[in-house]
Structure formats: structure tokens, C-alpha cells
Symmetry: C2
Subunit: 424 residues, 2 copies
Amino acid sequence: MSKFTRFVVDDIRFPTSTDFDGSDAMNPDPDYSAAYVRIETDAEDGLTGHGFVFTIGRGNDVQCAAIAALQPWIVGRDVEEALADLGGVWRELVHDSQLRWLGPDKGVIHMAIGAVVNALWDLRAKREGVPLWLLLARLSPEQLVDLVDFRYLSDALTREQALDILRAAEPHREERIAALQRDGYPGYTTTPGWLGYSDEKLARLSREAVADGFTQIKLKVGADLQEDIRRLSIAREVVGPDIRIAIDANQRWDRDEAIAWIRELSRFDLAWVEEPTSPDDILAHAAIAEAIAPVPVATGEHGMNRVLFKQLLQAKALGVLQIDATRVAGVNENIAILLLAAKFGVPVCPHAGGVGLCELVQHLAMFDGIAVSGTTDGRMIEYVAHLHEHFAEPVEFVDAHYRAPKLPGSGAEMLAASIAEYRR
Amino acid sequence: MSKFTRFVVDDIRFPTSTDFDGSDAMNPDPDYSAAYVRIETDAEDGLTGHGFVFTIGRGNDVQCAAIAALQPWIVGRDVEEALADLGGVWRELVHDSQLRWLGPDKGVIHMAIGAVVNALWDLRAKREGVPLWLLLARLSPEQLVDLVDFRYLSDALTREQALDILRAAEPHREERIAALQRDGYPGYTTTPGWLGYSDEKLARLSREAVADGFTQIKLKVGADLQEDIRRLSIAREVVGPDIRIAIDANQRWDRDEAIAWIRELSRFDLAWVEEPTSPDDILAHAAIAEAIAPVPVATGEHGMNRVLFKQLLQAKALGVLQIDATRVAGVNENIAILLLAAKFGVPVCPHAGGVGLCELVQHLAMFDGIAVSGTTDGRMIEYVAHLHEHFAEPVEFVDAHYRAPKLPGSGAEMLAASIAEYRR
């Protein structure tokens, strides 16, 4: 029997704006940051649960305050009991009637809950001595659906339907685990495509991406149509016809502008068009998806919660669903979203990059491939070669594939030296 | 020339949970609270701008932290310049690329921006010596559209279309101002309908409502169908057939459950059904609205931003639009929402109650009636007789009508003694 004793919350900021890493049409000068929490217990194992919310700078302090405000829900509780019922803990936090007013189910308070939930998953995986993806991949269908809250989802996905999906993927889990450990999980790269880069840098990084074995790259677009045409011409020429090129507008357009703009770019044989407009605009995404078919619409990194994803799927508004590890209320809500995607037959290609998003989200994609969708066909995790050196188990990325993490935990653990150096 | 000098932020909590005021199917024990800001300047007039976010207790500290974090955007700026361009200030805050990551346009950070924007409007109205409703009602159509950001709205409402709406309502503004000052603005009451009240209290308060001149009351529902039937029977019997009865489920149901439940209650001749399901679920609201017609669906108090309201209108998901004074990014965003409602011909019946929501939102409804929709037909502001005594100009409510506020400002100013007594 042990108890949670305290949260240690740190406001961590990397000064990435100085070299334009991560610049796009909506985010000209991000300082990649993390509102970072370590949850301590009085257990003799000395293990701590780590979680965080990725932000891009200003406001990271607000996100830290929100995480710290959740201490009373966790500190003092029995550790074993909480970790054995993370579905229950999730419901308690998300449905707290007073906290809920601050969302509901969205924004700062929801992401804060996500950091705490993810930290508890990190601790549970460490205690069980396995990486999170493997822990999830070996839970039973019943255990998995107990983690999910089906409120507001039942018109698209019931508990019974979720069980059917998970049971259908159950028979060959162990083979898929072995295949993953052997082959890794496919990735694509955004490294060449930031808006702030010169043409020369774009061409060089695109060429390197192909040499590195990538089958898909992604370019940021949306600031200037003629620039986009020029940059896509360069990229397409460098990579040749067989490499997929996705584009990402980072919410830059209104509906009709998006349709017109994308039509100008579709001659470059686009793998997908990401975030064409407001992430909240289901109806506009549906109209864009219809207008630009067969080019698929991709969105999700700003997708606030499971109710939004449900509607995007119901409205046929996306062809690629991009989960994010720290935007929603943690592992549990992402399991709900993976189940919704499987129900609608839409591939999940997670958003990553930022601070530690690759480290975290790979666990969810790998779990999806083993136990939910049961496939990696048409699936890829975004890969950005930034800031991995600050993590206890940095992403291992070989031949354009994520290697399956081996260390116990969720991947969230940042090096103490990095925390000390970059915290405010 | 004067400068903004500082924010004073207070975490104000009223212990309302002790007597069940405000209890409903989702919020059993709210402690009505306000994350309250006063913005000071170095001007000799000594005027301060007041604004706040209403919350229901836990998490009010997080909301305060978010408001305080916005100081660097305001403090040090030229007061006259900022107040003359509140559209520009709004864009700067809402579109700040780093802050935006915490929403975008939703939740704690968005509501914090709303409090600051509203405080600036309060200061501007005080400096001009007029109540906010009158200040807004006398701005030109061009000045009004300059306050609105049309990004993500253009598929439903362009600047030109907004100008047309405002110009159409321009000719008889002064007559409507005079009529408002004479007659007030209609209200309806939620006072009888809280779930925690006994049958006797429900009957007595319903009877009193009719005696007080109300033409509509509202009952909370959604916890138990048989209870709802019993309570609606009591209310309908007490008020008779001519008084409108609206019901409010506070997001309690999933889509199909909502439809089935409402069909059981529709025999009571319902004025509207409020918040049947998740406030984010446009598609479910549309399905419910179609299924329960001609009973209209009402929603909005948890409506996170203009993009959500746009879609609810596009999808014919609501028949009554309920703005809230502190849920979105302040007066400017509510002007956008009023314009959208006018474009789609949907009446706006604001959410109120809470702490100071009546005091604030009446200004927006009165402005709507004078200068946007140009009518009060089918419009009513919610009225709850709670906590008004803490405000510098408490709502004056006579014969079931809100009297037009007379004091300069937005209505947000709380008495210093109340702040001192209830702040943490």
C-alpha cells in the first residue's frame, strides 16, 4: 500500500524560435515548451509518473497552474487502487462538475487532466516493468473498454461495438507484437518542410529524407499560394514521383479559400491536406473533403476531444485522423478516438514533433496497430528530429521507422539535467 | 494620454452549494464564483475596467491565473489607443500564435481573454459616460463590423453581409432605444426549476412567477424521467396553459436518449429544450432538433466560440441561441454571434444567472434588439434572483422585464465590500 505524495510541476521552455524550427503559417515563432509534471509516491520503489502538455511558449505558465490545481484529486490516494482503475480516475477528473465548467472537455483544463492521466499511465507501466504500448497491447478487450467513457459517443460507438472491434483484433496480437519489435512502425518526416527554411534547405532536406528511406514528407503551406507552388515544385522534383508529399496549412484558410487553394496545389499529387481550416469546423472540413476528393483531409492535432473526432468521422470530414498525445485527456481519451477511427475505417497517423510528442504518441500508434485497427497499412507517425536528446528514452528512428520503445513507462520522462536547464 | 498600469485579479467564491441554488442534472453542488479582474490606468479620472469569468467553484484559481497571465499584453499600453481599437486588441489577444495553442479559441485561455476584453469595454463605457448597451447601440455599422473577426465565418457571414444586417436595423434605432428605456427587455425565470428543490417549493415558486408577470419559466430535467414528468405536471398545473415552460437538461443525454426522453415530455407543451447533449455536438443537436420539431432546441451557455455557433446555425441544430457573457472572448465575439443569429433568423435568448451574468448579458441583448436583430419578438433573457446585491448596479427587474441599465459601464462592477468578503 502506497500513497501519492505530491506533484512537482515545471515550466520548461526551449528557445526554438531563434532558428525557425517549427515555423508555419500560423505559428511564426514558437518556443517549444512543456508544462511538465512528476507525480511522486511514498512507495519504496522510488518510481515517479511523468506527464506533460506540449505548448509553444507563452501561456505555458497557465498550463502549469492548471496541472498543479489537480493535486487534490490525486495526492493522498492509494496508488495501487488508482492505477488499477485508471478508467475510474479519468471519469472522476473529467466529470468533476465544477472543473468541467472550465471546458467542458477542452482547452487548458482538459489538457491538464491529460498530463495527469498520462503521468499515472507512465507510473503504471514503470511499475509493471513494460513500455506503455506493450502494457496496453496486452490488456483484454474488457479491460480496454473499461478505460473508455462512452458518454456522447453512443450514437457512433457503443461499448459493445468497441468490444467487437477489440475482439476482432485479438487473435494475432502476439504476432503483431513480434513484427513490431522486428520491423518498427513507419514514420514520415516534416523536417524539410517548415516555412522559415530557404529553398536550398528545403531541397537538401527533402533529398536527405529520400536517402534516409522516407516514403512520405510533409510541407507547410498556406502563407502565399505562389510560394507554395514554388516550394512544392522543388520538393516534387527532388523526391520524384514515388514519394508521397503531404501538405499542412495549419488552419490558415476559410472554407472556400481552402478549396480554391488546394485545387491549385493538387497537381503535385498530394498525400493529404492537413488542417485546412479551423480545427473546430466539422462542417467546413466535410465540405472541403468532398470538394478535394480523392485527396484526403487530415486533422486532429488541435482536435479538442472525442466528441469532435466522432463528428468529423460521422460527417466524412477526414480521411486521415491525427491523434495528439497531449491535446486530449490522455491515454484513455485517445483509446476512445482510436476505437472511433477503427469503427469508421479511417487510418490514424499521429501528430508528433514538438517536445516529446514523438516519444509519447508512438506508444499509442503501436497499440493501435497491434490491438485496435490491427494493421499499419496506410498508417505513419509524424517524425521531427527535434529535442529528443532531452528524454530518458529518446525516439529510436531507423530506416524511417520508429523502433519499439523498450524501457518501462510512457516515454514522457525527461532528463533531470534538461529539466534543470530549461525550466523557468 | 494615459497608460494601463496593472491588473488586480481576485478569486471570488460564493458558497452557494449549501442551499442547492443552481443545482441541476450535471452540476449538483456549484459554488458560484468569479475570476475577477480590475484593470487600472494612470489617468486622472481614476476609472477602472471590470471584467470576470463566471465559474462554479473548483478551478476558479486556474481561471484567475489565466487572466493574470494576460497582463503583458495590456499593461503599459496607451489607454485611448486601445479603447479606440478594441477590434484590434481582440485580434491581438485571440490570434497570439503562442497563446492560441492553448485553445485555440476555447476554454480557460479564451474565457480569460473575454474577461480582459470585457473589462476594456467596461472602461470605455465608463469613460464615455454611458451604459455599454447604449454605447454599442450608437456605433455605426462600420464601427461594429470592425470589432468582428470574420476568419472562419466567411462561409456563413461576410463583412458585407454583416454590414447589410446592421444597416437594415439602423433606421429606427432611436425609437427602439426609447421603447427599451420605457418598457424594458423581457425576461424569463429559472428560479422555480432547480432540481434540488422540493415539490412544494417548485409549486410555490412557479405560482409566484406567474403572479410576478412572467410568461415563461424553466425547469431543470434529465436526472430521472419519472421525476421530470411529475415535476412538469406540477408546474404545468400551477401555471396553466398560457405560460411557456422550457426545460433544461444541462447536457445530460446522448443523442438517442435525448430524443426518446424529450418525446415523453413533449406533452407538456415545451417552449424549448435546452442543452440536450454535449455542447460540442453539432450533429447530435441537429438530429435532435429534427426529431423533436416543432419543439425548438436551445443551446449556447457552453458554446465555446463563434465557429461552433456558426455550425449550429448552418446545421439547423438550434431554434433558440443562448449567448453567454463570459464563455467566449468577450463583447466582440458575442457581436459576431449576434450577427450570425440574425443572418440565420434565429432568436437570441441569453443565458444568465450565475454571478453577474444577468448584469452583463442584458447589455448584449438590448444592443441586439436595437441594432442587430432590431426586435425583441421571441426574445427573452434568463433571470435568476441570485447574488445581484453584490454588484454596483444590480439588475433592476420589474414586471418580468429587465430595466435598461443607466450607469456608465458594462455592469461588471462588483462592490468592493463583496470582493473583500468573498475573495480567497
